[in-house]
């Protein structure tokens, strides 16, 4: 199976079959990485900052904790099963991350080569997470809520529309020209109108996200239905299938791989609409947080919010990938996330 995340295949092949402790089970690369993280901790703690900043000690503590985990994993072989394997797989990344963090720390907090406030030091971003976590947390919650509402409505509408126009010539005759005219229009172009028409900026945003999601889902579902092998229908018909069976048990499952491509595209565009909608109208969510941070010239908060947003989007994509893998497990050679 093709696998984007080689940790999975590495784990499946079981490169680390060591049972019971022995010196050969020690993982030298892990010790190097641990030394790197201890070095980072020392650098943060011992080299005075050019402008004193809080939370340097906490950052050093985190670095030490990472070093401790690496030492434990390096010394215990496969004692912690999958966790050990994953940590070992990403060993080189741990070293690279320590080096990057050290460089970042030096060019910002320690020497000030990259000037404040436009460039944030690691501890100043940690400061945002530790001091402003409640506001960030609520922002994530509102963003996810808004996105999920709009996305689910849009995905459902897209699949229904796609199946309808893929199945019915009459529906296709009427809907297709409308889709061609309206579909390519970026959903954000509706923003001023939507905020005007809908009672709340929240409902307007749900509408816009749904709109942005529905277009690619509709097109891909439609093309999926259109490309179903005609013989499938003939076979089902000779076996006694009624039209409802042909749609639900033949056309839709056969089109599902296409539908998922549409769902991925829709998720991508829905992120863009979400952020714009939150920046311009909704008074909550990560987009709003970014805007708010900019208003106060709180660049640290902006970096922190961007990081959180990246994690959120990546997690949602991962969830969709899992859902696809589970649904389309009958396909061979799926790309994994």
């Amino acid at each position: 199976m093709a696998s984007i995340d080689p940790a999975l295949s590495e784990r499946a092949h079981g490169s680390f079959r060591t049972t019971g402790w022995s010196w050969t089970a020690v993982w030298p690369l892990g010790l190097v990485a641990a030394a790197g993280w201890i070095g980072v901790a020392a650098l943060i703690e011992l080299w005075p900052e050019i402008i004193p900043q809080p939370y340097g000690r906490e950052l050093a503590g985190i670095a030490l904790a990472i070093a401790a985990v690496l030492v434990v994993v390096a010394a215990t072989g496969r004692l912690f099963g999958a966790v050990s394997d994953t940590v070992r797989y990403y060993g080189p990344w741990f070293i690279a991350a320590a080096a990057l963090l050290a460089v970042w720390e030096v060019v910002t907090a320690k020497t000030g080569w990259l000037p404040v406030p436009f460039f944030s030091s690691p501890q100043s971003i940690l400061e945002v997470f530790l001091d402003d976590w409640s506001r960030l947390g609520i922002s994530i919650w509102y963003s996810v809520l808004l996105l999920v509402k709009g996305y689910l409505i849009g995905a459902l509408a897209g699949v229904l529309t796609g199946v309808t126009i893929g199945w019915s010539q009459a529906a296709s005759y009427w809907v297709h020209p409308v889709l061609r005219l309206i579909g390519p229009l970026p959903a954000t172009a509706w923003l001023p109108l939507a905020f005007f028409i809908f009672p709340t900026s929240g409902s307007a945003s749900v509408f816009l996200i749904a709109l942005a999601t529905a277009f690619p889902v509709t097109i891909l579902t439609w093309s999926g239905i259109a490309s179903v092998n005609r013989d499938y229908y003939d076979i089902a018909r000779t076996l006694g299938a009624k039209p409802s069976f042909l749609i639900l048990k033949v056309a839709v499952p056969a089109a599902l791989p296409h539908v998922f491509v549409g769902l991925f595209m829709g998720l991508g565009t829905s992120f863009a609409v979400l952020v714009v909608a939150e920046m311009l109208g909704v008074k909550a969510g990560l987009g709003w947080y970014l805007q708010w941070a900019q208003g106060w010239a709180a660049y640290n908060n902006m970096y922190a919010a961007l990081l959180v947003m990246a994690l959120m989007c990546s997690s949602l994509i991962t969830i969709l990938f899992r859902l696809r893998d589970w649904t389309l497990s009958w396909q061979k050679g799926l790309v994994r996330w």
Binding site: Y232, R237, T238, L239, F245, K249, V250, W330, Q331
Partner: protein, 265 residues
């Protein structure tokens, strides 16, 4: 073992259907121009017999099966099964295609169950699916997906998917056409067995003269498109037959002669 499985599968006594084609003509529209594929074809098939249709590629034999299945309707003439004009497709008449065309998102078991599920009787007839899978020798592969099967296994699943409905007319459209020659020979024997034990009427479209003579009781030879019957050869030999039978060789020469290939003998 096969006989036993089939006895279990066939709860009701299956009887083959009678086929009557009267002056059947059919044409397609191709870029606005009519393309005749069948020209005034008439023949009858006795219930329970096994008849093959051979002829040049693209001569309209497959179209004939589609008419019998009810997937298309003739431009002219009548297609009757058991004395009644063929209307919509019906599970008593099942078509097996050259490609197994299994549904890739369904397991072997679910593919075989397709017909019973479509007719809404799967819940009470699950054992029929098990029996059909056993009948074609695929026990143990129930949970496999089509992409995990070899060509011969996939075609066996397609046969099981047809037989589970206890059809009274089995329409085989070059079912072995894409198999390697060894698998092909094995499955020829299996198809004869299935037909003998199920007691249904079977129609086989094939390009392979030897296959037609080895399997069936009667061979209808079609001319080039638009197809007409140019010869009706009775193969009056008992089963099991032997490929080396001199009578078969003689009939083969006759059939090739009708196909304009006498010079190759």
């Amino acid at each position: 073992m096969v006989a036993l499985a089939l006895k279990q599968a066939a709860e009701t006594t299956v009887t083959g259907q009678q086929i009557d084609l009267e002056n059947v003509s059919h044409q397609f529209e191709l870029k606005g121009a009519p393309l005749p594929v069948l020209d005034n074809v008439s023949f009858s098939v006795e219930p329970g017999s096994f008849v093959s249709l051979i002829g040049p590629s693209g001569c309209g034999k497959s179209t004939l099966l589609r008419l019998l299945a009810g997937l298309d309707h003739p431009t002219d003439g009548t297609v009757k099964v058991d004395g009644e004009s063929v209307g919509d497709p019906d599970p008593s008449r099942i078509l097996v295609f050259q490609d197994p065309t299994l549904f890739p998102w369904r397991t072997v078991w679910d593919n075989v169950a397709l017909g019973l599920e479509a007719q809404g009787i799967l819940r009470s007839a699950r054992h029929r699916v098990d029996n059909a899978v056993q009948l074609v020798g695929l026990s143990g592969f129930e949970k496999a997906y089509p992409h995990q099967l070899s060509g011969g296994m996939a075609q066996r699943v397609a046969l099981a998917r047809a037989l589970v409905n206890e059809p009274r007319l089995l329409l085989l459209d070059e079912p072995l056409g894409k198999l390697d020659s060894l698998t092909r020979l094995t499955m020829q024997g299996e198809i004869v067995k299935l037909w003998q034990e199920a007691g249904l009427t079977a129609l086989l479209v094939t390009h392979d003269v030897e296959e037609a003579l080895f399997l069936t009781q009667r061979v209808l030879v079609f001319g080039p498109r638009p197809a007409r019957i140019v010869a009706d050869i009775a193969v009056d030999l008992p089963y099991p037959r032997h490929r080396g039978d001199p009578k078969l060789a003689e009939l083969r020469r006759e059939a090739l002669g009708h196909l304009g290939l006498a010079a190759t003998w």
